[in-house]
Symmetry: C2
């Protein structure tokens, strides 16, 4: 079944792109990457090099080579294979059928194509995976089938010529090479991370003279390790060598099987099954998205961020944005809470960086970095984009005004606690995060005596095209929620963990949190129109549409936003703050959500990959009172789930490359499926389920893990059911449909 | 003696421009305008029309014809005279000597030139003045001398084709014409002001056939009146008719004499005499400046603003800026306090507009308009300049962030009181202004609990190239001074005028003023470097020079300022906030002033016409500890005094015409002479005098009017003297030099 222009699926587990041509190299390389959260290897052909956007990005290798951007290193390519026939190089023949396939059930990617040198040609099949069993390991099997007699020569080993956005992160590469094994070592020039790559390979059969139909297979095991890894007691070189050698001994099939077993464990809770007559495209795009969100996530560590582009490229510096808590994490929260926990522990470990940022800017507490690497210090440069018209740098204020990042994290801490009941996390980590955020926001707000309220001014909300605004409703509301979380957790700690509370030395800061929480202004819906103004003065801006603004562009890569972009003085948003607010806080009355969705949706230009899933989730929810919206929800769902497959976002803005996998959109596909159509939401500390199954679908089935209990939900037009596995050991409190909270016993079911 | 490239003076009272060519039409028209504070008539030739920038601007005729800018009307031209010889039009011959002369002692302007039509030519002399005796009246005498026999024909009357920046403010013009008299009536389209112009003329002798050496004189009296005038009991047409007719009866010479008598009264206190061997250029430029400041000022009314370009053109909407209190008014404060009073009463009359602005923007009290017309409502549009590169409008925040305008006015109220002792003004007007400003600034400031202080954030200071800055020292300090003034005046009122105080209903607002006054953060000099940071983070900006920035320009008319101009992220200023601060608050220690002057002076690009006089004044003061600075002071003095004569400022920025007379620079020349070289300052409520006479000058002599007492000051290298006229009736307390305060008796003198 066709998913998009270039992509099809046959079973709902794999996606197949039938046009893996070089002009689509950036897209193909990202979509068909392999990875495991430790390493990401782009879906390029084995003979490609830097100019083909070959990259293998390793977590925790941040380095600043150009003096400006700190980004992940692109390590030497240990899966490099070059072929020649009868003395002439074989290269990919774009004129003949080719395809690249990713099976997300096992994590294996296969390229199939014909390579030619003008006189000879061969069918080349490349299978490849990154192991979820040994995170250092990637394996590849290149099978060459001759269509006529030829003398085939294979060149393999480690190629240091890899794609890198901002400078060379390898420095001097020391290589060794013996029969069937090569190694490369280097140290990142600025951050001094030692990186080792080992590549082992085997040929079979060991003959270079092929007859028509003969095949030869080159099996390679590439392993990478760094001095920052926890599991390299004898250093990265030893570790990479050991991984590569033992994998090549084990063989491709067995190594793949071990990894696939781990993927099966993941899918056991992560899978969302969409049934229906023509749902296979949606199904495959959704799984593709869920998988990519997972391989973007360094789940092996609790001290690493999820990069906004995962490990697909170096854009956005391999660092965490608010995307991490608002998009990536929620896709794990109810399926793999241990990953959600690691992510939040990362935020705890980076508190000092956030404290340094707050202090530097004159605030108290923890102002989390807009772009957060391993230390939590702000990585976002003052000048992010260039003005493509004048060539002058633009002073974007992502790093100093987009303060909602801190309350976003704090409210996620409380949600994690609500869902998992993980008191230990709160005591050891969560409380400190939330308290430091409460202190920060209390130092950021402004008290306006003559209105007897706190306001938050000079903001940049999620809609980044409107900088320097006041009382942006998303920011004000999440700040209020975060303060509430701090007060609730403070109260609980005072009762349950007074010693730890004393250690955290809150003192009378709590009085200020309470005062700000009580008196913080949050824009309310208008009594008549029910509209919530995105920020003070928004409704007075020019009321126009993204289409009109497109026509005002002078240059196609222009930044639309602040200070002088076409959207700044208009009501057109990059992403919809008010709709985003409902995604985060579903407690707003449905008629308020409906009125605002209707107003803001046509004004959103979707300049961010984060916006589609938010629209989809809220539209699905609104289908209960506005049934027509379900179709728009499905459209937006497909938009987020195929955003990378169809490559619908700009690769470059204002001279800055921002391509690669949009991990927040990937996670957003899960969110739309489960929080939108599945109707799952967390309100007042409880999980609620109120599904809205699209008419063209028969059912949606997904798992929930709540307080350690495994539940299974199936929503269909005939009714919905949530069951608790008999192996569970505790009751779960749930709200289903419009009912009052109910308790679900192990082995029991709730139907409605 | 030559003053500049084109201009000379012969006596120190007049300036003569020897190149009144059409390419310099804007400059010549402004410099050689005639005026009296009620009307301004540009120094164009009588045969010129709209394309020659002919304009007659009348105070209190604000009208918005284009729906965007409210500006003064340019009224029909009643001094229009066209000549022809032998049937062919005579026009100005730029190839022959011509000059235009302005004698500021009498206010008379004379153009002398040769007009030709290819075959005939005539010497044409045009004398012209605007009466200070009858403000409605302008008179002109055109004398034509034939160089050979010719049949001369004269066409005169009222020409409605006048220069207007933004639209036609005349609408339908109803004209009448009979022998020797024409009238024109119209109503401004938007504001509905009725305007009448009458023009009477006489020829002499009454012959059209001229022989070589024969002359003919056309005497015209043009009078204008509007329905907004106070003195038009029978309507504007009657008033203009009456003025024109009686003037033509009286004759040019007698009418000029009556006006000149008034000018003599003005000069009696306003003149500043510079003596020395080659001081005539400085002398003439200074008097030229003082005169222009006076004719810009609607001293006849206490309900009209001083336009930033006076009545020389429509730029800046004929409206008041902070220039009015910080530049124009101080030039009257010690010479014509009744004019200073009128200006401040204007601010009192516009309190409601300022209150509306404050309320609209969410503040309390009075936030004075950045561009203030007759009602005090904000005239400054949100988008003032265009980006000349993209053609898009720039959102300048002059109108919402440049809050120092309010404290500027408040502190001037107190200074006026200090100098005049005019208690009645404080009771009736001043206290209300000061209290409303104190309330406003108290609502604008931000309390930062963790620093236990008030700060002022999101500011635009006098240096308009740096918007959205925090704790800009000029703004913070004038705010503190204004709050101090409110507390002092409140204390005095409580003692002396409790009933009026009760009427003003201050209530507990005074407690907040006191709290803010006590805890307001004002950046202090660094202990080592003595430098005061212009605003938070200024020292971290790129340290470069105006010259370097010039080279970065893409377009010569580019706006250098916020948001994307070349100066924004640098230490280059449009005008120097910190030096400006010393001009307003001379109490900073001299070594602090010296260190900061040395730092900031080379970083100032003088993008504003306000900056030169401020540098000059402070440099002259610093000469006491840094003698070399006196030369720089003289240079800056000449720069401000000849700024219009030499036309050194840009006429247009970002597509907006900003040419015309720079009245603040004109007033700044007086300030430099008297406050700089004369060393007059007001500190702790007293007038202090500590002159610094430039080496090339012999002496400076000027008058001071303090508490109604006329003093005369002469400063010279041999010593200084201040005398009190015997006709005075009270002692005056003064501080001269380094001495303690002394009392000066009527008829007495202080020498030092």
């Amino acid at each position: 079944m066709q998913i998009g222009e270039h992509v099809r699926t046959d079973t709902g587990w794999e996606v197949v792109d039938e046009s893996p041509t070089d002009d689509r190299g950036i897209t193909i390389g990202s979509n068909f990457m392999i990875g495991n959260g430790y390493v990401g290897y782009r879906g390029t052909r084995p003979d490609q090099r830097a100019d083909g956007f070959v990259g293998c990005f390793v977590s925790d290798t941040h380095d600043m080579a150009d003096g400006v951007r700190r980004e992940l290193a692109s390590v030497p390519n240990g899966l490099y294979v070059r072929l020649s026939a009868d003395g002439l190089p074989l290269t990919f023949d774009p004129a003949q059928a080719a395809e690249v396939e990713l099976d997300v059930r096992t994590g294996e990617c296969t390229h199939r194509s014909t390579w030619t040198n003008g006189t000879s040609e061969a069918l080349v099949s490349v299978r490849r995976f990154a192991s979820l069993d040994d995170l250092h390991l990637m394996m590849q099997q290149v099978t060459v089938v001759a269509t006529h007699e030829m003398e085939l020569r294979v060149h393999t080993g480690i190629d240091p010529e890899v794609w890198s956005l901002h400078g060379d992160h390898l420095g001097r590469v020391i290589t060794t090479r013996e029969d069937g094994l090569a190694t490369a070592r280097c140290t990142t020039p600025e951050s001094k991370v030692d990186i080792a790559v080992a590549s082992s390979w085997r040929f079979g059969p060991d003959s270079s003279q092929l007859w028509p139909g003969d095949d030869i297979t080159i099996t390679s095991a590439m392993a990478v390790a760094t001095s920052n890894d926890d599991d390299v007691p004898f250093g990265p070189l030893e570790r990479s060598f050991e991984s590569a050698e033992s994998a090549i001994e084990l063989g491709y099939r067995e190594a793949l099987e071990r990894s696939a077993t781990r993927w099966a464990d993941f899918w056991d809770t992560a899978d969302v099954v969409i049934q229906g007559e023509s749902t296979m495209a949606a199904q495959a795009a959704l799984r593709f998205s869920i998988w990519h969100n997972r391989i973007a996530t360094p789940a092996h560590s609790d001290r690493l961020p999820i990069g906004a582009r995962g490990l697909s490229c170096q854009a956005y510096q391999g660092a965490a944005f608010w995307d991490q808590e608002m998009f990536n994490l929620p896709a794990f929260l109810l399926t793999a809470p241990e990953i959600a926990r690691s992510i939040l522990v990362y935020r705890w470990r980076t508190l000092d960086g956030a404290r340094r940022k707050a202090e530097r800017l004159g605030y108290e507490g923890a102002f989390y970095a807009w772009i957060s690497g391993t230390t939590g210090d702000e990585l976002c440069p003052d000048f992010f984009f260039d003005d493509v018209i004048t060539g002058r740098p633009i002073r974007n204020h992502f790093n100093v005004w987009q303060m909602h990042i801190s309350p976003d994290i704090a409210l996620t801490v409380e949600r994690y606690w609500n869902v998992t009941g993980d008191d230990g996390f709160i005591v050891d980590h969560g409380a400190e995060i939330v308290f430091e955020v409460a202190t920060f926001v209390s130092s950021f707000v402004t008290f306006v005596p003559h209105r007897d309220r706190y306001e938050i001014i000079r903001l940049l909300g999620p809609d980044e095209w409107h900088e320097n605004v006041d009382n942006e409703v998303f920011t004000n509301r999440v700040t209020q929620i975060a303060l509430g979380a701090a007060l609730r957790i403070h109260g609980w700690m005072a009762e349950q963990h007074p010693d730890r509370l004393a250690e955290l030395d809150v003192g009378d800061r709590v009085d200020r949190w309470r005062d700000v929480h009580e008196k913080l202004y949050v824009p309310e819906p208008d009594a008549d129109s029910l509209l919530i103004e995105q920020f003070d003065g928004f409704f007075a801006l020019e009321d126009t549409t993204p289409e009109v603004l497109s026509e005002r562009l002078i240059h196609p890569e222009e930044y639309w936003g602040w200070p002088n972009g076409v959207a700044v003085h208009t009501q057109v948003s990059k992403q919809p703050d008010v709709v985003q607010l409902f995604a985060v806080d579903p407690t707003y009355p449905l008629d308020v959500q409906r009125a605002n969705y209707a107003f803001y949706e046509p004004r959103c230009a979707h300049g961010s990959s984060l916006s589609h899933s938010v629209h989809a989730t809220v539209a699905a929810r609104l289908a209960s009172i506005e049934p027509d919206l379900i179709d728009q929800a499905v459209e937006y769902f497909m938009a987020t789930a195929t955003l990378d497959l169809e490559s619908t976002q700009q690769d470059s803005v204002g001279g800055t490359f921002i391509g690669g996998m949009h991990t927040a959109a990937n996670a957003g596909a899960y969110q739309t499926a489960v929080f939108g159509f599945g109707g799952v939401r967390i309100a007042d500390g409880r999980v609620c389920i109120a599904p809205a199954v699209p008419p063209a679908w028969t059912s949606i089935t997904f798992a929930l893990v709540i307080r350690g209990q495994r539940l299974d939900v199936t929503a269909s037009h005939d009714g919905h059911v949530v069951t608790s596995r008999p192996t569970n050991d505790a009751r779960v409190e749930l709200v289903v449909g419009d009912a009052d909270p109910a308790e679900l016993e192990p082995g029991g079911a709730l139907r409605w």
